[in-house]
Point group: C2
Chain length 430, copies 2
């Protein structure tokens, strides 16, 4: 199933699709060469927005949940990608420790954990789950509705002087975090020098900043755009940031207003250049953070001045109670894809450097200019698996596999940006 | 769709399935470690026979045709595997030269070539087709029924002193043979030291011997059987060979009779051990050769003595007119899988070390003890793509993905054997 685009695909994006299809061997080779220089994250999901005239990543998640939302048909791709990754990281690995989110009541999230464990088992790893929750003091089974059983076990420092992390009777070569560390870096994860911790600690929201990611994405988008000769704006949203913002105490409002105004003007110029009639808007969100909290759609700079108490509260608290300090002001990208009249945006999943699946995030209660990652959303698997080799002969904008290929290319640009971002922010880099 | 097994799966094979599923992480790790020691062929297809009480490879093809018979849904797996392979072989490769079979009137075969070219293009390679046919003296377009167009071009030695192989204006890093060299090694392919020729010349039927492959498979099967604690016979057919056989001149008949007799007795002992009521049989086939010619089903040693002229003719000529000289006598493995009452056998396709798809070879006119690779066969894609992560909780013998996983494991054992075989027979090895 392909969602219906409410604006007919025409103009700039059709040209992008044509150029990408035409240049497929060059693009894939370009990625191949880039991956010789940079190491992809173990896994990653990217939220895309397709405005018909523009296709861009708006969020890159280094601790993807939602593997349970991928269609089962895509699992062999995930297993194969995971094999390629493990072979490079820890080729003789026998054991892998998976650390899920701390709060584990959410059945959907637990199904994601089960799916991940099953992929990793097929990769040739004994997988066990180590919990960061203080409530888990002994092996604790959790039964899922589909009959599967997960066992959460307490983490332990093991080995000589507790140099390693594992379970009481389980010494892993690799530790895979599926916990984004929004609540800070737990002491038990620190100073692990003999094992592979994936992704690294500085990928967690305790340290990570979206602005670093989009800085890196700027570079990637610019370089890629030269390969296929396009305006990088076609795949890249403008952004800037304000530091030291405190919504409660109304500190930093001027910076916000100026930033919003600057970005809105830049978008307006581009819209004019391409004859786009839509109204420019920006998204204001925490520079550190996730879970769709603290996100605001703004169409005029004055809006960020006149926030009422409720809006200020919404913006100032993100997951696990962190205060917002740095704020990202990013070009809003309309999503004109709809499934049954509900607004939809594609989310692409990758492992190692491979696209392994995706789904549409659909929200019946939200508009084309709003964040869809919010309560009430649901998921529709992307039909990547159908005829998924692009059809070069098809008319631009018509063929399903061609649209998905385009999604896969743009998502992989964000993946590459994540790789650069992690290199540049590595505290242990020389 | 899963073919119906006319014998209910019970006894030994059920135990094999259980053991393989239970040991999945250990098996996949075992493969991972083996692939650190050995390089998989670029691609490979393996014919399996499933007797219900035994599952074994009977033919390992290093120049697989039939990629067009895989379901399109499997293509992303093939692209991903091919990417992994190219990255290791020639990471900055831009161009790949594909050399198809010489005789190119067969539309099905040409669709296979088109499919392969499309996979390789998605891998990030410019793909062109170089022909070994003397009839191709200039770029020659061939239109396929589905609207695709292939262009066959004459091969040329290029570069300084003609050290490289390519086309007049095309210098490839990698040359992929889809021509099994039954007719001998063409001079134009010799002495290529700067480029990667895949598979190597000694994989071609001008040099290759099935007995070398099954020697290597013996070793692999033995080693693997220890990992999961099974009788290697469950996955390995007995075989022996006779050299210097000339059917026309009735030379070597005694060796044949003795070999047939020996193998039949060995099978009978195993059948007795496992309480199998079927009648043992052997397959007599050329040690070098392909295309299903020169293959005979024998249930009694006397049968190879009393060949009439027609049978002798059939056995003595294989593809492109080579005389049979060495003969393989191999345990016949019944195939008790049926699709709509027609006998079927699974064929599993691999690229690099990954299973990328497969199909059932089905023959309405052949029996459960006959070679199915013969005129009149047709193909039904294997449904690897459906729920293809094994279901450990399912009852043995019931779940589709479990049967396919088992096929994938045994096929990969044959792949590993091919890798050992090519190492051991490499004329340039020290």
């Amino acid at each position: 199933m392909v969602p219906h685009l409410i604006t007919a695909l025409n103009g700039p994006l059709l040209e992008l699709e044509s150029k990408v299809l035409e240049a497929t061997p060059a693009i894939e080779r370009w990625f191949r060469l880039e991956w010789q220089e940079h190491t992809p994250p173990f896994y990653c999901s990217v939220d895309l927005r397709n405005a018909g005239f523009k296709l861009a990543p708006v969020d890159t998640n280094l601790f993807p949940g939602g593997f349970n939302n991928l269609s089962p048909e895509m699992m062999p791709l995930a297993v194969q990608a995971s094999m390629a990754s493990i072979e490079k990281i820890c080729p003789d690995a026998k054991n892998l420790l998976l650390i899920p989110e701390r709060h584990t009541r959410n059945v959907f999230y637990l199904q994601n954990v089960a799916r991940l464990a099953s992929i990793l088992r097929q990769t040739g790893l004994n997988v066990r789950l180590g919990s960061l929750s203080e409530e888990i003091t002994k092996p604790t089974p959790i039964d899922l509705p589909d009959g599967q059983r997960l066992v959460l076990e307490p983490l332990a420092r093991i080995g000589n002087k507790g140099r390693r992390l594992g379970l009481k009777d389980f010494d892993p070569c690799t530790i895979l975090l599926n916990n984004d560390l929004s609540g800070g870096i737990p002491k038990i994860l620190e100073n692990l020098h003999e094992q592979y911790l994936l992704p690294p600690l500085h990928a967690g929201w305790a340290v990570r900043r979206k602005s670093n990611h989009f800085d890196a994405y700027d570079d990637v988008a610019k370089k890629f755009s030269k390969v296929i000769d396009i305006d990088p704006w076609m795949i890249n949203p403008f952004f800037t940031k304000c530091t030291g913002v405190n919504f409660h105490e109304r500190i930093g409002e001027e910076c916000l207003q100026e930033s919003v105004d600057t970005i809105l003007k830049k978008i307006a110029r581009k819209y004019k250049e391409y004859g786009i009639k839509e109204k420019p808007y920006v998204i204001v969100k925490a520079d550190a953070g996730t879970y769709g909290m603290g996100i605001m759609t703004v169409k005029d700079a004055s809006e960020v001045k006149d926030l009422n108490r409720k809006e200020r509260n919404k913006m100032s608290v993100i997951k696990e109670g962190l205060e917002v300090a740095d704020v990202l002001v990013q070009e809003g990208v309309y999503t004109f894809e709809k499934i049954n009249e509900a607004v939809a945006e594609p989310v692409v999943y990758m492992m190692d450097r491979y696209v392994v699946g995706g789904f549409y995030r659909v929200h019946t209660g939200r508009g084309v200019d709003e964040n869809l990652n919010a309560p009430g959303m649901h998921f529709v698997p992307l039909a990547f698996e159908h005829n998924s080799i692009p059809d070069v002969a098809a008319k631009p904008g018509i063929a399903v596999p061609n649209r998905f290929y385009l999604y896969g290319v743009v998502a992989r640009l964000a993946l590459l940006a994540a790789s650069l971002e992690l290199e540049r922010t590595d505290p242990e880099a020389e």
